[in-house]
């Protein structure tokens, strides 16, 4: 019986641990994205210059220069989406959505590629990362999966839209899918030359202080004229909604799993304890006081619940990575919008980007799980114990 209780408690709490870990990692990342977006302003063209390989309105050359003149501007980042539908770099079975994305460093390092997985945080597996001094060179880093499939190594070159880029590094990201289909990352200016695009699709402006964002919006607007729409990023409905919905969906899962776990544990301890009515009657008959019966049995059922914790840990460590993977996949399928954040601008193209790459159980969640388990175990047990203890022994003994 004790073992059964421990098993049920273990599985319930294990589920909670898994979802709370996933939710915690998402929430941490979402919170970072939200705060990074606070002092960001987006500038987009309303009278677009179209380009055959560009799937969004481009800005004029020289726009960035004008914005940089406005005081209160801390940094300017350029982002372009370029469509290579015509054929150069579709690979890894990825759908034909290609882009030039800003990845890091704020000033010079930008991305060209098929952009399927956006720009997940990557690590360099071979060679080196791009550096500011690369700003005008035709160099690139490519994803590890593509490198091994195509046999292209360091020092060799890849053709992007007809322009050769020399491979200086090979990077890897968390999952195989992105490793195969990830973008070729190149410096921004060579990328624009390769696509023959006049300017970026969007210019992201970082305000020096959060409080001055709305003043700055007005000043940039008057500096560049009515051909451009200037807006704080946090006001862009899609971005805010995406962040919020990602956050809330996963929070719901966490609460639901906690609630389900709590109900299950409560019911099990309730039912198991209710069956001990005769035992309670016997103890009363033998002259045990109500106080000692209640405290003894309550302690016992808390200990049973605690026995479930090792099982909970095992369940979460074994099943956690699988659940994480399936959440990542469903988030990929959902394909949320793109958000760009702060001075180290990241492009994030799916909810999966908010997930930690590996699953881990933190001590604080474990502590929470212990508390929840013990409390619910106690709550479930105490009612039938009290009820039976209140009966006269003759009644409690009756089978």
């Amino acid at each position: 019986m004790a073992l059964g209780v421990a098993l049920v408690v273990g599985i319930s709490i294990g589920g909670f641990l898994i979802f709370s870990q996933i939710a915690a990692s998402i929430q941490g990342n979402v919170a970072a994205a939200q705060s990074a977006v606070k002092n960001l302003i987006a500038v987009q063209s309303t009278t677009p210059v179209y380009h055959e390989q560009v799937n969004a309105p481009m800005t004029e050359p020289g726009l960035v220069g004008k914005i940089e003149q406005v005081s209160g501007v801390l940094a300017v980042q350029r982002v372009s989406y370029v469509n290579f539908n015509g054929g150069a770099i579709v690979r890894g079975g990825a759908p034909p959505i290609e882009g030039i994305d800003v990845v890091s460093g704020g000033t010079l390092m930008d991305v060209i590629g098929n952009g399927q997985a956006g720009a997940s945080p990557y690590t360099i597996a071979q060679g080196r990362d791009l550096q500011p001094s690369d700003s005008n060179s035709a160099v690139c880093i490519i994803p590890a999966g593509y490198a091994s499939i195509s046999g292209i190594g360091l020092g060799q070159s890849v053709q992007e839209n007809g322009t050769p880029f020399t491979v200086v590094g090979i990077y890897s990201v968390g999952d195989t899918y992105a490793n195969n289909g990830g973008p070729t990352i190149v410096p921004y200016d060579p990328a624009l030359q390769a696509t023959l695009a006049p300017g970026p699709n969007v210019v992201y402006v970082t305000a020096a202080t959060t409080g001055s964002v709305y003043t700055l919006v007005g000043e940039i607007q008057s500096a560049i004229g009515q051909d451009y729409e200037v807006q704080p990023v946090s006001d862009l409905g899609a971005v805010g909604n995406d962040i919020n919905s990602i956050a809330s969906i996963n929070q719901e899962e966490e609460y639901v799993s906690l609630a389900v776990g709590a109900i299950v544990i409560g019911l099990v301890t309730f039912v198991v304890t209710a069956q001990r009515r005769r035992e309670i009657g016997l103890l009363k008959l033998l002259g045990f006081t109500n106080g000692s019966i209640v405290s003894q049995l309550a302690l016992e059922s808390m200990l049973w619940s605690l026995l479930g914790l090792p099982i909970a840990l095992a369940v979460s460590v074994l099943a956690g990575p699988l659940v994480l993977q399936s959440v990542q996949q469903s988030a990929n399928a959902g394909g949320s919008g793109t958000i760009y954040s702060g001075s180290s601008a990241h492009s994030v193209s799916a909810a999966s980007q908010f997930l930690a790459a590996t699953f881990e159980v933190t001590p604080s969640t474990l502590l929470l799980a212990v508390l929840v388990t013990v409390c619910i175990g106690l709550v479930g047990a105490i009612l039938p114990i009290l009820r039976a203890a209140r009966l006269r022994p003759a009644e409690a003994m009756r089978a």
Partner: protein
């Protein structure tokens, strides 16, 4: 040796299980009276459903009567508070309940020890006493068996050992021999009789078995909620009472002339009672 004639005294006791949504009202005990002298073994016989368990529950303080007095060793149980009743059960009474319910997770030995816990008996003494008791019911080779590993009769004997664990002054047994074969039945009966004689434990035993009840000191039959002593029992009680008043008269005659005998209320003979021997209660 002086004994209390009215060690157990029931006066006009009625117990009714009230009508509920599912059940009719049942008057299990209907205005019954009863006396059992100290150190005597009384049998209660009666058909199934006649109220035997109900009677034992009242005698042991497991339940309370609707009306009437349940006096055990000079105390009216109906007037004891919950706390005193718990102490009464823990230290004064031993029960062998009809279903001889043992805790399934504990061994025979531990089940007997458990009964001594509320009385704060030191654990080494608990262990030793429990072993002695199990030995006296012939189970010294089953000490560490779980109830599930014991036969029905063996479980019943563990329950008897448990009931004796606290050296009770009152032993209440509901069908204690029901599951025993002839040999064990008489062994338990002999044990009970010796305990009554030598340790002055007063006992009430519920039984269906006339061969058991015939050997008891007193016999009562319960039918439709009414309790009646057998002829043999009425006679014996009358003799005991006559004997008691004779010796009281002698005591009064020997006493100082100033001492005026007080009027004795009906059925209240003597309060003198020797403390139960503290030694080993087992034969």
């Amino acid at each position: 040796m002086k004994i209390t004639l009215d060690f157990i005294r029931l006066r006009h006791v009625t117990k009714t299980y009230p009508k509920t949504k599912e059940t009719e009202e049942v008057t299990a005990l209907d205005n019954i009276s009863l006396r059992i002298p100290e150190g005597h073994l009384a049998a209660v016989v009666g058909e199934s459903g006649s109220g035997k368990t109900t009677l034992l529950n009242l005698l042991g303080g497991l339940d309370r009567p609707d009306s009437g007095a349940v006096i055990v060793n000079g105390e009216d149980l109906a007037e004891l508070g919950e706390r005193e009743l718990v102490r009464f059960r823990a230290s004064r009474v031993g029960f062998v309940i009809q279903t001889y319910y043992l805790l399934p997770a504990l061994t025979a030995w531990e089940n007997v020890e458990l009964a001594m816990e509320p009385n704060r008996v030191p654990s080494s003494e608990r262990r030793e006493r429990a072993r002695e008791l199990l030995k006296s019911v012939g189970l010294e080779s089953r000490l560490n068996h779980l109830p599930g590993q014991l036969s029905g009769g063996e479980q019943q004997r563990v329950a008897i050992a448990r009931a004796l664990a606290n050296r009770p002054i009152l032993l209440l047994a509901d069908e204690p021999t029901g599951n025993l074969d002839k040999k064990n039945r008489y062994a338990v009966l002999e044990l009970f009789l010796r305990l009554a004689r030598e340790n002055k434990i007063t006992m009430v035993v519920v039984t269906h078995d006339s061969r058991v009840s015939e050997r008891c000191d007193l016999e009562y039959s319960l039918k439709n909620g009414k309790l009646r002593p057998t002829n043999r029992t009425s006679k014996k009680l009358a003799e005991m009472q006559a004997e008691a008043s004779r010796s009281r008269d002698m005591a009064a005659a020997n006493a100082q002339p100033l001492a005026r005998p007080e009027p004795v209320p009906d059925g209240y003979e003597s309060c003198d009672r020797e403390e139960p021997t503290k030694g080993d209660i087992m034969p």
